[in-house]
Symmetry: C2
Subunit: 290 residues, 2 copies
């Protein structure tokens, strides 16, 4: 008999729920807008009601408290998203579901999915970067999802500025951190139009690749991951990825030597699971509790 | 009967050898200058000759190849240190010693020592930073020494410049990376005198703390370690550490919340094992193979 597992991806704008097998085959999938916690949680419960599953994994937007010793373990922390701050997300779900529930960040879970069934298959480390409304990064190091004190916040690292970029930055905490300069909303604010409506003009590509390549270079120097996966809305500008690879090479200047870095085309790549990295990762997370 | 373990710390200028117990008690210790590989290895062999030990751990200067699948696993890679490039360090030692030999970087080993007997005791993650002739960082994440593709090179991350600092930087690979701007030799080149001969004047403290706090902020955002230990020659300027803590707090601006970050005085600290962090760490590494 096949085992079925549930996955939930709770994003700032939408929630994706699905059911899959241990082999990462999706048998059912749905999505709906993220509204109030009450309404959204009810829709999640309805989707999974009477489904024959063994466990559920959730990848959630953050920040969330993942410190198992904390009194607020499993809570969403302060978030600009109305009504969701201080919600006991894990508690609400474990209360209502009769099977194990596992929680991690959306990006950690996506990294897990890519390691299990995507572009980092067979490896024991990778990072998963999404460049969208925010910049989020999940990491697996030495076979284990990286948590540390709770979870990392790599989207907010401090970066040196492009000499021609005088945009002030939009991060409410750090102003011109990586997310403040290179997220989708930063692009929109700098150029007055949404990224998807802007053509790939040279300055946009130059600034965006400058910041993302710099961040990736530092992630390599610090984490030394065996694969880097980068996706999200902003990466739909297809010209970006090759320029980012070139700039990473320039930044590192052959200081770090490894067979992976000799082939940047297969080292810094798009998600192998496409838009399902998060959902399948949540299913992979669920499997861990079986 | 007590078990004795050997430790070796090979630095760019000197080698330290020692013998200790499983409890981290040093029973013998010696040191000598690092000269040619031949002479230096012979001195190491002589020290351990006829000693009743079960295993040896080595913490070495780098870069070294720690990828177990590589043909040059255990070799020192290209280093400016004459005669040491491409030396099969691990091979030379395993060939001559009749017991298991374990190798890692000097800073990874120091992190291990601090976790076992020093200021990160009882935790499952920490980073160990040394600011000296170079800037090196070792890390343990989720209980495991961080290796990834081989080992990290966090001393070379790209940093934003202090607005008043016009020094060009001295890293032969990246010019103005962290090590290029904030290592001991960078201080010497910028101000024309060795750090130990310079008084703690405001600009020195300001620049140095600016770069180190920035790097530490990024390490926190990326690795989320439960303890940060910082030592090395440059940190002998005792005024630096408190200023670094203040600047880390400013940089993070309460975005990351954790009980550790609420008490920076006990979060960013000097090595608990002092100058023996590396040697005791090598002994801790040796114990892993028993
Ligand atoms: N082709 C594009 N070029 C640049 N930016 C884009 C493009 N498509 C979407 N974006 C931006 O990406 C962000 C949405 O990212 P996405 O990953 O789809 O969602 P989210 O991060 O909310 O999960 C928006 O800021 C949007 O303007
Ligand atoms: N009090 C001090 N203030 C600033 N720099 C110092 C001080 N003492 C030593 N240094 C610098 O630290 C470096 C040596 O660092 P150390 O950690 O002792 O050795 P190494 O890194 O070679 O193992 C030298 O560049 C030296 O000038
Ligand atoms: Zn920020
Ligand atoms: Zn450098």
């Amino acid at each position: 008999m096949r085992i079925y597992l549930g996955g939930i991806e709770t994003g700032g704008t939408k929630v994706v729920c699905g059911i899959g097998t241990e082999d990462g085959e999706l048998v059912e999938r749905t999505s709906f807008p993220t509204t109030t916690p009450n309404e959204t949680l009810n829709q999640i419960f309805m989707f999974f009601h009477n489904k024959n599953i063994k466990a559920i994994g959730i990848g959630s937007f953050g920040p969330i408290d993942l410190n198992k010793e904390s009194k607020t373990f499993g809570y969403i922390k302060n978030t600009p998203k109305p009504y969701w701050s201080q919600l006991n997300l894990l508690g609400e779900l474990t209360k209502r579901f009769p099977f194990p529930v596992e929680l991690d960040t959306d990006v950690n879970v996506a990294a897990l999915g890519e390691m299990k069934w995507g572009n980092a298959k067979g490896l024991d480390s990778c990072i998963y970067i999404t460049v969208g409304t925010g910049i989020g990064v999940g990491a697996v190091t030495e076979g284990v999802v990286l948590h540390g004190m709770s979870h990392s916040e790599m989207g907010h690292i401090l970066v040196r500025r492009h000499p021609k970029d005088h945009f002030k930055g939009i991060c409410p905490y750090h102003r011109d951190c990586l997310e403040g300069l290179a997220s989708g909303p930063a692009i929109e604010e700098r150029w007055g139009e949404k990224g998807e409506d802007l053509i790939e003009y040279p300055e946009l590509l130059e600034f965006e690749s400058f910041y993302l390549a710099q961040a990736i270079s530092n992630y390599i120097l610090i984490l030394s991951p065996k694969k880097i996966i980068i996706g999200g809305g902003v990466m739909k500008k297809k010209k970006l990825l090759p320029i980012i690879r070139d700039k990473v090479k320039q930044n590192l200047n052959d200081y770090v030597q490894s067979k992976e870095l000799d082939k940047l085309d297969s080292y810094i790549v798009s998600p192998g699971l496409g838009d399902n990295a998060g959902l399948l990762g949540a299913i992979a997370l669920a499997e861990r509790s079986c």
